[in-house]
């Protein structure tokens, strides 16, 4: 029997279980694969799980399987630098990021799980007149969309982050910054668990270590009935065949491999994005700081570690190995910005796969194959968009037509020359 809401976490529960040394209930149960589902979601990252959650919550569709070849959150959703913000450039994109930020704001209470959302403010530094001009433009575009976003001078930067050197003789003087007060960080694992737990409580099944090997189609113009004009009837997995009239591709870096299985070509190339984290130190960095011209960004976790990131790697690949080149470049740029951290040691570096599109905007909604939906192409910026995307995808799947909010991001835009250029606000700060 499906519970409607998961068991609540509370201080009382903590004490009770602590005293009795009781097991905690699992966040989601293990199931055998059914022979059929109303919908199969491929990819157990924030996008797949949010879609599953909103299908159940808003549309009562719970005969759903989320399948991941590894573990939930093992893709980009557990590897990102967890920055959330909505100060993008296109009105189409801002709709999404803003809605998601709103949903993240109430997530801890909605899901009764501490996602450690910290609206600490987001600063994009300008080191030249030219970049200050770009910041002004971005701020004006943001204001028109009702986004809290403004340009501030070096003195105000110093007030927000006292440890930054704003003197004229710094290696890269700070001319000002684009300041986005609602931006911040969130605990990405907790977000993944919150959606999985809430969806599972409503009856949706989570299937880890379940790799989709093929998508079964009929009536399409390509080989084996795949391709435009056809429809999906199910998937082949390492645990057997399962039928479903709806298959949703939420596989980010692996997106083209899954779409190939349905005969749908995508404008996506897979690149690695790397990040690194230092040993923990006393908290000194109260906001997220991005420098576009130095190709790096940094935030400090509540534990005190500095989390660093940079732009996407220059060579496309499916290998998730980190490179020394990245650490070397990153260290150089970070030291230009914050010479004071020179003696800190990096604890870890890692890489994740990013599904890059030509216009730095996602590809969402229906495809030329009936029942096959995509929510991919989120590149280096998709974590913050998870909640809004899940809500809109669930809406799209339940109605069979693209929700208004995702219509500009349909696959057809590439053939029809309607690109949604977001590179200016997405290339370095994710």
């Amino acid at each position: 029997m499906a519970r409607k809401k998961p068991a609540r976490y509370s201080a009382f529960d903590l004490v009770k279980r602590g005293l009795k040394n009781e097991e905690w209930p699992r966040l989601w149960d293990h199931h055998d694969l059914n022979k059929s589902y109303d919908a199969i979601i491929i990819g157990g990252g924030v996008h797949g799980l949010a879609t599953a959650y909103y299908l159940a919550k808003d549309h009562g569709i719970t005969n759903v399987a989320v399948m991941d070849k590894g573990y939930l959150g093992g893709g980009g959703s557990g590897r990102n630098t967890a920055i959330v913000r909505s100060n993008y450039l296109t009105p189409e994109g801002i709709n999404f990021y803003n809605r998601s930020l709103e949903l993240y704001g109430s997530m801890a209470t909605d899901h009764n799980l501490n996602v450690m959302f910290s609206e600490r403010g987001h600063l994009t530094l300008a080191h030249s007149d030219a970049s200050l001009r770009t910041m002004r433009w971005r701020a004006e575009v943001n204001k028109l969309q009702n986004i809290n976003s403004l340009v501030i001078g070096p003195d105000e930067v110093k007030k927000i982050v006292p440890s930054l050197d704003i003197s004229r003789d710094a290696a890269h003087p700070i001319e000002g910054a684009l300041f986005h007060p609602p931006g911040g960080i969130i605990r990405h694992d907790a977000v993944v668990w919150a959606y999985a737990r809430s969806a599972a409580a409503m009856g949706t099944q989570m299937h880890q270590k379940t790799e989709v090997l093929d998508i079964i189609c009929e009536g399409g113009s390509g080989p084996d009935g795949k391709g435009p004009g056809g429809k999906v009837t199910g998937v082949r997995t390492n645990r057997g065949d399962v039928s479903a009239p709806v298959v949703v591709n939420c596989t980010a870096g692996w997106a083209t491999l899954i779409s190939d299985m349905a005969g749908v070509k995508l404008p996506i190339t897979t690149f690695t994005l790397q990040a690194a984290v230092t040993e923990p130190v006393k908290v000194f960095l109260p906001a997220v700081v991005v420098s576009g011209s130095l190709h790096c960004y940094v935030s400090q976790t509540d534990r005190g570690e500095l989390v660093f990131g940079a732009a996407v790697d220059p060579v496309s690949t499916y290998s998730m190995r980190g490179t020394f080149e990245f650490t070397e470049n990153l260290a150089g740029h970070i030291l230009d910005l914050m010479p004071g951290v020179a003696k800190m040691r990096l604890l870890r570096q890692w890489a994740g796969l990013c599904d890059m599109t030509p216009d730095y905007s996602p590809v969402m909604g229906v495809t030329p194959v009936e029942g096959f939906y995509v929510d991919v192409g989120w590149g280096t910026y998709g974590f913050k968009a998870g909640p809004g995307s899940g809500e809109a995808m669930a809406n799209t799947i339940s109605s069979g037509r693209n929700a208004d909010i995702i219509a500009p991001f349909d696959l057809a835009r590439f053939a029809e020359d309607r690109l949604v250029g977001e590179k200016g606000a997405a290339a370095v700060g994710h």
Binding site: P314, S316, E416
Partner: protein
């Protein structure tokens, strides 16, 4: 760090090169429809495995093609 085998300079760090992406065949611009042209510009194979791709060497200023396994990052022999 990737070591890219340049046909002229031999193996060198990837940072000496510009990666040009997967190779694909260009339709004839005089006869292609706008849709065909946009497909050529935007749609990717993005193979997980052996890929033919373009590189530019900043040392000898040459464009050349290479085969690389995009899963292991192992290069095949250079071709012109």
């Amino acid at each position: 760090m990737l070591l890219v085998p340049c046909p002229n300079c031999g193996p060198r760090d990837a940072s000496d090169f510009k990666f040009g992406g997967e190779s694909s065949s260009r339709p004839d611009p005089r006869t292609a429809t706008p849709e065909q042209w946009r497909d050529y510009v935007h749609l990717k194979t993005n193979v997980a495995g052996n890929q033919k791709e373009t590189w530019y060497c900043r040392g000898c200023r040459t464009y050349f093609s290479l085969h690389r396994d995009t899963v292991t990052n192992i290069f095949g022999a250079p071709q012109s």
